[in-house]
């Protein structure tokens, strides 16, 4: 009796779920219907009369507003709002104001898919989304089906641009660049012969760890390749077994909350190997969590942050005045907002497909340098830098290659 009741409960739940999914699929093609006109308008944007002002132009943002990465999401939302305010103060785009519609992906694939479906069903022209690659990846097809252009401020797993969708564009350089930088730094700067790699099984961190292992081949021995569970606080068991393998360097590829704890606990266990962390751990909180004395000398591979760009010297005070200290992706999100605005301007229309095409062909000068995309949607000339913690501060030890 009881299992039978449960079965019925389960099947009705599945039915409801199926309906939701169907509804999501159903709405996508209907959004696409105006898109055939897109190609035409794109070729002759200058002839277009300024589009009639039919209210605000709505831009979507799907970011982690809650959950473990909520801080990053809020940083990015601040930047986008700041950019839109500036653009609107100068008359907006096509004579209309830009309006931001924020949805929460909580850095979680299920929530991200729900949020993306909601965004494409709304009157949204283009979207800025993607901090956690793992959460962003499953939403790509939804945007693709809706023909909606996406500018990705932070997420940078290699797989993101391997689907061949022409709507997805990354502001950040990818894991391939990061893995190469990390392996090179550990081997050539630190002289590491034995390396331990730790990831957290997320799409992004696992990929970075695997790519780093490939890059280390023939240069150093990978003595440990371990995964932790995000959200946990005690990594002493993993670290104790890594300790017995005596690595020269440890590279942790996931996020700052666990990164700080790993540094702290490794030092507490008497591990004196050099420690390097990936760009997901690039946040001052890392040093706070690890404790300044433990974090000293820790290296971070990261895409250039707010402070490393030439364009940021007058941008930072403007941001600070409004929202306080900028986060590592504040500049990227700000640039993403300008890419979207400029693309709409160049497309001369709010048609989704035309805007998506204009985003791919964008060529503007952002705070993070010149922004244009390759035919796969990667940032042209993207690169990673290396920071080290010196006296508790992140200091650039290896800057731009050019």
């Amino acid at each position: 009796m009881v299992p039978f009741r449960n079965l019925r409960r389960l099947s009705s739940l599945l039915l409801a779920l199926a309906l939701v999914v169907l509804a999501g699929c159903g709405s996508a093609p209907s959004q696409q219907s105006p898109s055939p006109a897109g190609g035409g308008t794109q070729t002759q944007p200058s002839d277009q009369a300024p589009a009639p002002a039919e209210g605000d132009i709505v831009i979507g943002a799907v970011l982690p507003i809650t959950g473990g990465s909520a801080k990053m999401g809020q940083d990015m939302q601040n930047s986008i709002e700041m950019a839109f305010e500036e653009i609107n103060a100068q008359g907006g785009v096509l004579g209309r104001k830009l309006k931001l519609e924020v949805q929460d992906d909580a850095c979680d694939p299920q929530s991200a898919v729900a949020a993306a479906n909601k965004i494409v069903s709304m009157n949204v022209v283009a979207v800025i989304s993607g901090y956690c690659s793992g959460a962003f990846l499953p939403t790509e097809a939804i945007y693709h089906n809706a023909g909606m252009g996406v500018v990705v401020p932070a997420a940078n797993a290699v797989s993101l641009t391997e689907q061949g969708y022409e709507e997805i564009n990354l502001i950040n350089a990818t894991n391939r660049d990061q893995a190469r930088t990390a392996a090179d730094y550990m081997v050539n700067q630190w002289g590491a012969k034995k390396v331990a790699l730790i990831h957290d099984n997320s799409a992004f961190a696992r990929e970075l760890a695997e790519l780093t292992r490939e890059n280390l081949e023939g240069l150093a021995e990978v003595v440990a390749f371990e995964a932790i569970t995000p959200g946990e606080k005690d990594f002493s068991a993993i670290l104790t077994s890594i300790k017995s393998k005596e690595p020269d360097a440890i590279y942790f590829t996931a996020y700052y909350a666990e990164g700080g704890l790993i540094i702290k606990q490794a030092r507490g266990l008497g591990i004196d190997a050099k420690i390097m962390v990936g760009d997901g751990a690039n946040d001052p909180t890392l040093v706070e969590i690890a404790g300044a004395e433990n974090a000293e000398g820790v290296a971070i591979t990261t895409s250039p942050g707010a402070f490393d760009f030439t364009g940021s010297s007058d941008w930072i005070p403007r941001y600070r005045e409004k929202y306080g200290e900028p986060g590592p992706y504040s500049v990227h999100a700000y640039d993403a907002a300008y890419v979207v605005a400029e693309a709409i301007k160049q497309a001369g229309t709010t048609d989704r497909a035309a805007v998506a095409k204009a985003i791919r062909n964008i060529n503007i000068e952002g705070i993070s340098g010149p922004i244009s995309f390759t035919e796969t949607g990667n940032r042209k000339d993207g690169y990673f830098i290396v920071l080290e913690v010196k006296d508790g501060e992140f200091t650039v030890v290896q800057g731009a290659p050019r």
Binding site: T66, I228, T240
Partner: protein, 302 residues
């Protein structure tokens, strides 16, 4: 050998946290047969109350010493205990006569409510908070094993609280009354026991154990955030089932056992298999001894 002992020490610390939180699950289940899924969040709230207490005590230069830490812990335990009672009063008591699935869903809702309330509460917020005081890594070496004072302090504190709770439940009049309510709520009421008060007391005791664990986790790991209760809650629930849910010594044994399983799972097979070990043990127990390791030893549910 020294690696084995080091891992054992790691296991005891993790196990202490699980055991303290597991006690609350077991206690509440024992009395009103409710799996209080909001219990992990009381652990989180305990950590946050301790955080704020330490900040405030730091301002009157009391914060960083042993007195300050113990005082902050007491404050956090008191506040969280009160909150636990409040949660029971507003969310579970009105549903006392309802089918068991309903308070269970309410508990899940309460868990989400508490997490998000902490997130939007400005002084706490969404980002990770660094604890104002953290336990040092100082210690001594014994047979080549580094034993931190922090490890010992946490283990001793957890043991002290667990023994204290056990004695209270077994020896005091209130404990007796609680056990009576757990055994048969209606008969206990007929004997003149105020059942609602005993249930509140159960929630209070469970919550202060969770709060103590939360504050110690903050002191030990140095970092807290509003989602920290989720995984610990899940693991502590597993621990209480391992030991026999409703059975207090079982919760302690289950917590320690889960810590050991996780640590040795990690060191023998690899970190990604840790949870497979922990939850695999849960499945085995449920299949072969559904009452848990110590579940049948005591006649009553406490």
């Amino acid at each position: 050998m020294s690696q084995f002992l080091e891992q054992l020490l790691n296991a005891l610390v993790i196990g202490s946290f699980y055991a303290l939180v597991a006690l609350g699950y077991s206690m509440v289940y024992g009395i009103i047969r409710l799996i209080n899924f909001a219990h992990g969040d009381l652990y989180m709230l305990g950590a946050f109350f301790g955080y704020s207490a330490l900040l405030l005590l730091g301002r009157i230069s009391l914060g960083s010493g042993v007195t300050g830490v113990l005082l902050a812990m007491l404050i956090a335990m008191g506040m969280t205990g009160g909150l636990g009672v409040l949660v029971e009063r507003v969310a579970y008591r009105p549903l006392r006569g309802a089918p068991r699935i309903i308070p269970l869903i309410t508990a899940l809702g309460m868990s989400l409510f508490l997490e998000n309330a902490v997130m939007v509460f400005k002084p706490w917020g969404a980002s990770f908070r660094v604890y104002p005081v953290t336990l040092g890594r100082a210690g001594f070496d014994l047979f080549g094993v580094h034993i931190g004072y922090a490890h010992l302090a946490i283990f001793a504190m957890a043991l002290f609280l667990m023994v204290g709770l056990h004695l209270f439940v077994e020896r005091s009049t209130y404990g007796k009354a609680m056990r009576a309510v757990a055994f048969d709520l209606e008969a206990a009421q007929l004997m003149g026991i105020n059942a609602n008060r005993m249930i509140s007391l159960g929630f209070f005791l469970g919550s202060i154990m969770a709060a103590a664990a939360g504050v110690m986790a903050g002191l030990y790991y140095g970092q807290i955030n509003f989602l920290m209760g989720f995984i610990v809650g899940l693991k502590a629930f597993t621990a209480s089932v391992l030991g026999g849910i409703g059975n207090l010594p079982g919760a302690m044994v289950g917590g320690m056992l889960l810590g050991v399983l996780e640590v040795f799972g990690t060191s023998s097979v690899g970190g990604q298999w840790k949870d497979v070990f922990a939850f695999g043990a849960l499945i085995l127990i449920l299949v072969f001894k559904p009452t848990g390791l110590l579940g049948e030893r005591t006649a009553g549910r406490m």
